[in-house]
């Protein structure tokens, strides 16, 4: 069985090496999608032994995840895991995702809301709003629609189509599982919050923009 980790990265030079190093023991291949970074992200990823796919210009999280899933498909992955490059996710939890896929899930979401430990209250509120928007627009209820720690089965890799480019991809992936009749499972994860990872999140205005794009995604 081939497990491929996908790390979308935009200017993550300060944390990426550690993330790759701690991920490698749990997967067969690490693919870093360098989303038009201005720093040494690509060089660091390459030096750490990851496969690097570089966007010539920055296209956003959704575009990077789409490219990563396509790369995983070309690498004949049986399981693809996405995790953030900012060190927020603990790679030691990857086996639990793989187990869930082996037990029949097509997409696994690592939910921070099932444990909530260490999660700032405003992040909990933002996530809850994201869950409500996802439910209202796409009719699927999950406890952490915005989580970046996910796993995909080969079937999911072959059927999921990503159209959105930016943060709205999280809700779109949930919507795709319903549209393509894929089995969605959530497992609890423990997020690691640092000053750095908190600075990478969505602010209020980006959240509004994401909402607008999701409405358009629903209409188009």
């Amino acid at each position: 069985m081939r497990v491929v980790a996908i790390i979308p990265a935009y200017n993550e030079a300060s944390t990426l090496a550690e993330v790759i190093k701690y991920t490698q023991p749990f997967v067969d291949v690490v693919v870093v999608v360098n989303d038009g970074s201005k720093d040494q992200t690509a060089q660091i990823a390459f030096a750490c032994g990851a496969q690097v796919v570089s966007h010539v210009i920055n296209r956003g999280l959704g575009a990077a995840i789409g490219t990563g899933l396509e790369a995983a498909k070309r690498l004949q992955a049986d399981v693809a895991i996405t995790l953030d490059g900012d060190g927020q996710h603990d790679p030691r939890e990857i086996p639990a995702f793989v187990r869930a896929i082996l037990e029949g899930a097509d997409m696994v979401i690592g939910s921070r809301m099932l444990t909530r430990a260490g999660m700032p209250w405003y992040r909990q509120v933002a996530n809850f709003l994201g869950n409500i928007v996802t439910f209202v627009l796409f009719g699927v209820w999950v406890t952490d629609s915005q989580s970046g720690f996910r796993a995909f089965s080969r079937r999911a890799l072959e059927t999921i189509e990503i159209h959105t480019n930016r943060m709205e991809v999280s809700s779109e992936l949930v919507a795709e599982t319903k549209q393509k009749q894929l089995k969605l499972v959530e497992i609890p994860i423990q997020a690691i919050y640092t000053q750095y990872s908190l600075s990478k999140g969505q602010n209020f205005f980006v959240g509004l923009k994401t909402l607008g794009k999701l409405v358009l995604r629903r209409l188009m």
Binding site: V33, Q51, V52, V53, S54, H55, V56, I57, R59, A63, G66, T67, E70, A71, R74, H163, N165, K213, L216, L219, M220
Partner: protein, 115 residues
């Protein structure tokens, strides 16, 4: 005819000619050309004969003709903004496809070189 009426009529005439030219060069589909021709003709009639809007106002139950024009203009503007937004979104998706294919092809080229 006031100066403003003359100016607006000239502008609508210019816009009408541009629409027809674009349609002839196949740069605009027939339904869009028809819609825009209608918009410019109606706008011309409204500017030349403002009292005609009162008939429309009575028909839809709005007090003054000029209010009907403003409401319709707002609806049209909202619709056009939505269309532009949707078009921009489509272009964004196309750019992403292009960037993705370039990225994946380059990676495969690099892999071929190292074999």
């Amino acid at each position: 005819m006031t100066f403003l009426q003359g100016f607006l009529l000239l502008f609508f005439l210019f816009a009408l000619v541009r629409t027809i030219k674009q349609f002839r060069k196949h740069q605009m589909p027939v339904y869009w050309a028809l819609l825009w021709v209608m918009v410019w003709l109606i706008a011309g009639v409204v500017v030349l004969l403002p009292q005609t809007t009162d008939i429309a106002a009575r028909l839809v139950g709005v007090g003054r003709g000029v209010d009907v024009v403003i409401y319709l203009a707002l609806v049209l503007l909202f619709y056009l903004v939505f269309r532009l937004y949707a078009r921009q979104e489509t272009i964004e998706r196309e750019i992403t496809k292009l960037v993705r294919n370039i990225a994946l092809d380059r990676k495969e080229d690099d892999a071929d070189k190292t074999v």
